[in-house]
C-alpha cells in the first residue's frame, strides 16, 4: 500500500507542475498546458524561424487572455520596429503599453560606443528589468535575443557569470520567461544558453526542401512534464502563430450509423441503398476527366440541400472555375456559397509544404466546422512530399475528421493503371469507401464507368455502372454485360437497339402463335358445337324410338293380357313361369 501511495503522490506532483498557457494554437495542447510557470524557457532557432513572434505571442496572449502582464526586453529590434512587425498579426502594442499590460524595453548595445576598463557586472540590466517588471506587476518576461550581448560586450567570462545569475534571478522573481537564442553550429544556441536554461527548451526550424518552406517546432526538453517529442509543423499567418497538434493518431473515434446521400440516387442504391456513412472517408480515384470532381460536387450539393456546411479544398481549380464547370452539368453551387453553406479554399500544391497545407486545412476546418469536407484532389499533395509523409499526414487528417464526425470525400488522380495501384494503395487503407472511376475504351470511344471497390460496413454492389455526365447531373446506367463482354457508350446503345429489335420480333412471334391458338380453339369450338347439335338430333330420334318401343311393349302386354283374359288363364303369372323354366333348361344344357 505504501508503495502505491507514494506512486500516486509522485504522479500528482508531476500533474501539478504549474503551467502558463501561451495562447498559441496547438502549442498548449502538445505541452499539456503551456510553458513552466515561474521558470525560464529557451526558444531557439535560426534567423527568421519565428522566435520573436513566438515570444511576442506568448506575451501578448498573456496580457490579453490570461491577465498576466509582461515585459518584452528586446536586444535587437527597437520598440517601434517591434510594434510595427506584430501589428500585422493584429497585436496592438501601443494600446497594451498604454493600458500598462506590456512594457517594451529596447536594450541597445553598440560596441563602438563602449569602452571597457576594469571590472563590471550587469546589475544595470537587472535594475532595468526589475523596474519594468515591478512597474506593471509583470508575470511574464521575454528576453529577445539576449545573446546579442556577446556582440556588444567583450568580457565573456563576466557575461556568462551574469547570464547565469540573470536566469537564477528570473526564477527567484517567479516570472515565466522566454529567452530566445540563435541556433549555433553543433549546438542549440551560439553561446550555449541551453546550459543555463535547463527547464524547457523549444527548437524552431525553418526548412526549405525542394523550394517549399516548412516551419517546424520541437520540444527538446521539458523538465518535469510529459510532452510530445515529434516535430510539429507550425505556421505564421495573419492570425498569428499556430502549432499543429498532430498527435491524434488514435482510432478511438465513434462510428456513426447515420447514412447520407452521395447526391447520386443510383450510387446510393449501389451503396447498400442508403449512401455513405456519416463521418466516413470516401476516396474517389480515377484518371483525368473521369468525373471525380463532378461526383464531389454532387455530394456537396446534396449536403447543402440538407442544410449542412461544406468545406472544399481545391488544389487545381479556382472556385469560380468549379462553379462554372458544374453549371454545365446542371449543378448550381453559387446559391450555397451565397448562403454561406459552402466554402472553397483554393491553393496551388506547391505554395506550401505538405505540413503547411495540412495546418491550413486544420485551421479552416476548426473555423468553418463543416459536416462535409471535400479535398479535390488529394493526389496533388503527393507532388509536394514523399509518399510516406503523405500517408502519415493524411492519416492524421482522416483521424481528425473522424473524431469530428465529418464526412470527407477525397478525389485522387491516377495516371494509369500502375500509378493507380501505387498511390491509391497508399491511402486506400485509411478510407472507408473507395469508388473507382474508370474510362472504358472500345470501338474508338472512351466511356466512363464507376464501381465500388470497397465500402466498409455495408453490402454494396459489385456491378460496374456506366457513368454519364448529363445536362442534369450525373447518371448511372447499367452497362451491357453479356456474351460480348461489357459494352458502354454507343456500343451499349447499339446492343440495346438490337436487343429491342429482337424483343419486338419475339413479341410478334408470340402474338402470331397466340392468334393461331385462338383460331384452333375457335375451330375446336365449332367442331364441338356441330357434334353437339348432331348428338342432340340423334338423341332426340333415339328418345322417340325408345318411346315408341316402350309404347309397343306396353301395347303388346296389354294385348297379351286381353288375350289371356279372353282364354280364361289360371293366373296372371303363366306366361312368366314358362319363361323361368326355359331359363333353367338353358343352365342345365350349359353344364352338360
Amino acid at each position: 500500500m505504501a508503495f502505491s501511495d507514494s506512486g500516486e503522490h509522485h504522479l500528482r506532483t508531476v500533474a501539478r507542475l504549474p503551467k502558463s498557457p501561451t495562447g498559441i494554437d496547438g502549442f498548449d495542447q502538445i505541452t499539456a498546458g503551456g510553458l513552466p510557470t515561474g521558470r525560464p524557457t529557451l526558444v531557439c532557432g535560426s534567423p527568421g524561424c519565428g522566435k520573436t513572434l513566438f515570444a511576442m505571442s506568448f506575451l501578448v496572449n498573456g496580457a490579453t487572455k490570461f491577465d498576466e502582464p509582461g515585459v518584452f526586453m528586446s536586444f535587437e529590434e527597437s520598440n517601434d520596429e517591434l510594434a510595427e512587425n506584430v501589428a500585422s498579426l493584429g497585436y496592438d502594442l501601443p494600446a497594451l503599453i498604454e493600458k500598462k499590460k506590456i512594457v517594451l524595453d529596447h536594450v541597445r548595445v553598440e560596441r563602438s560606443e563602449i569602452e571597457e576598463t576594469g571590472d563590471y557586472d550587469l546589475e544595470g540590466l537587472f535594475v532595468r528589468l526589475g523596474f519594468a517588471i515591478d512597474s506593471i506587476g509583470a508575470r511574464r518576461v521575454v528576453l529577445d535575443t539576449i545573446e546579442s550581448l556577446f556582440a556588444g560586450l567583450s568580457n565573456e567570462s563576466i557575461l556568462r557569470a551574469e547570464l547565469r545569475r540573470l536566469f537564477r534571478w528570473l526564477k527567484d522573481k517567479g516570472v515565466t520567461a522566454v529567452i530566445t537564442g540563435e541556433r549555433g553550429e553543433g549546438s542549440l544556441t551560439r553561446q550555449g544558453l541551453e546550459e543555463y536554461v535547463s527547464d524547457a527548451v523549444i527548437l524552431l526550424d525553418h526548412r526549405v526542401i525542394e523550394q517549399i518552406s516548412t516551419r517546424r517546432l520541437r520540444i527538446v526538453k521539458y523538465r518535469g512534464s510529459a510532452h510530445g517529442t515529434n516535430e510539429y509543423p507550425f505556421l505564421i499567418d495573419e492570425d498569428g502563430i499556430a502549432v499543429l497538434p498532430i498527435t491524434s493518431m488514435g482510432l478511438a473515434h465513434g462510428a456513426s450509423t447515420e447514412r447520407i446521400s452521395s447526391g447520386v440516387d443510383r450510387l446510393d442504391t449501389m451503396l447498400g441503398g442508403q449512401g455513405y456513412y456519416r463521418g466516413s472517408t470516401i476516396l474517389v480515384s480515377g484518371t483525368a476527366g473521369a468525373g471525380k470532381s463532378s461526383l464531389g460536387a454532387h455530394f456537396v450539393d446534396a449536403a447543402c440541400r440538407r442544410g449542412e456546411r461544406c468545406l472544399v479544398f481545391l488544389f487545381e481549380e479556382s472556385p469560380q472555375q468549379v462553379v462554372r464547370n458544374m453549371r454545365s452539368i446542371g449543378l448550381d453551387l453559387q446559391p450555397w456559397i451565397d448562403r454561406g453553406l459552402l466554402e472553397y479554399h483554393a491553393s496551388r500544391p506547391a505554395l506550401h509544404g505538405l505540413e503547411m497545407h495540412l495546418s491550413l486545412m486544420y485551421r479552416a476546418i476548426e473555423r468553418v466546422r463543416p459536416a462535409v469536407v471535400v479535398i479535390d484532389p488529394v493526389s496533388s499533395l503527393l507532388s509536394v512530399a514523399a509518399t510516406a509523409d503523405v500517408r502519415a499526414t493524411l492519416t492524421r487528417l482522416v483521424d481528425h475528421l473522424k473524431t469530428q464526425n465529418i464526412t470527407a470525400l477525397m478525389t485522387s488522380l491516377s495516371h494509369g493503371k500502375s500509378e493507380l495501384e501505387r498511390t491509391d494503395a497508399e491511402i486506400s487503407s485509411i478510407v472507408d469507401t473507395w469508388l473507382l472511376l474508370v474510362t472504358l475504351e472500345s470501338n474508338g470511344e472512351r466511356n466512363r464507368g464507376l464501381y465500388v471497390l470497397k465500402s466498409r460496413g455495408m453490402g454494396h454492389s459489385n456491378q460496374i455502372r456506366e457513368f454519364l455526365l448529363t445536362g442534369h447531373g450525373i447518371e448511372l446506367v447499367d452497362v451491357y454485360a453479356g456474351a460480348g463482354g461489357v459494352l458502354t457508350g454507343s456500343a451499349r446503345l447499339t446492343q440495346q437497339a438490337q436487343e429491342r429489335a429482337a424483343e419486338i420480333a419475339q413479341q410478334q412471334e408470340i402474338e402470331r402463335k397466340g392468334r393461331t391458338l385462338d383460331r384452333l380453339r375457335a375451330a375446336l369450338e365449332a367442331e364441338l358445337a356441330s357434334l353437339r347439335a348432331k348428338f342432340e338430333a340423334e338423341q332426340a330420334d333415339l328418345a322417340a324410338d325408345i318411346e315408341q318401343e316402350r309404347a309397343r311393349i306396353a301395347r303388346l302386354r296389354a294385348d297379351q293380357q286381353s288375350i289371356a283374359e279372353s282364354r280364361q288363364a289360371d293366373s296372371d303369372n303363366n306366361g312368366s313361369e314358362r319363361r323361368d323354366e326355359r331359363h333353367v333348361d338353358n343352365r342345365r344344357s350349359r353344364k352338360r
Binding site: 524595453d105 536594450v107 541597445r108 548595445v109 560606443e113 563602449i114 569602452e115 571597457e116 576598463t117 576594469g118 571590472d119 563590471y120 557586472d121 550587469l122 546589475e123 544595470g124 540590466l125 537587472f126 535594475v127 532595468r128 526589475g130 523596474f131 550581448l149 560586450l153
Partner: protein, 105 residues
Amino acid sequence: MEMTEIRPDAASAVPVQVLRLYIAGQTARSAKAFANLTRICEEHLKGQYRIEVIDLTQDPQLAAGDQILAVPTLVRLLPEPVRKIIGDLSNTDRVLVGLDIRPAR
C-alpha cells in the same frame, strides 16, 4: 539621486566634459570607480568637468534612458558624441582614450 557636482573652472576655453556615472548601490566597485574617475578628472581635466552620479538602486527608471546594462558605466554626455565606458575605470589610459582626451594608440 545622489549628486556630486564639481564646478568647472569658468575661465577655461576647453569644452566642459559632462560626465554621468551610473552605479548600483554603494558597493566597493562603485566606490572604486568613483575614486578612479575623480582622480583622472583632477589629473587631466582640472576645472573642465562635471560629474553626476546616479545610483540605479534608487532611481531604476533612469537606466533605460542612457541604455545602461553594466555597472559601473560612465557616460560622457558632452561634448558629442556620447561615449560610454564600463567597468571600474581602473585602466586610466583606456578611460582617457574613451573620453577622447588622449588619442588611441
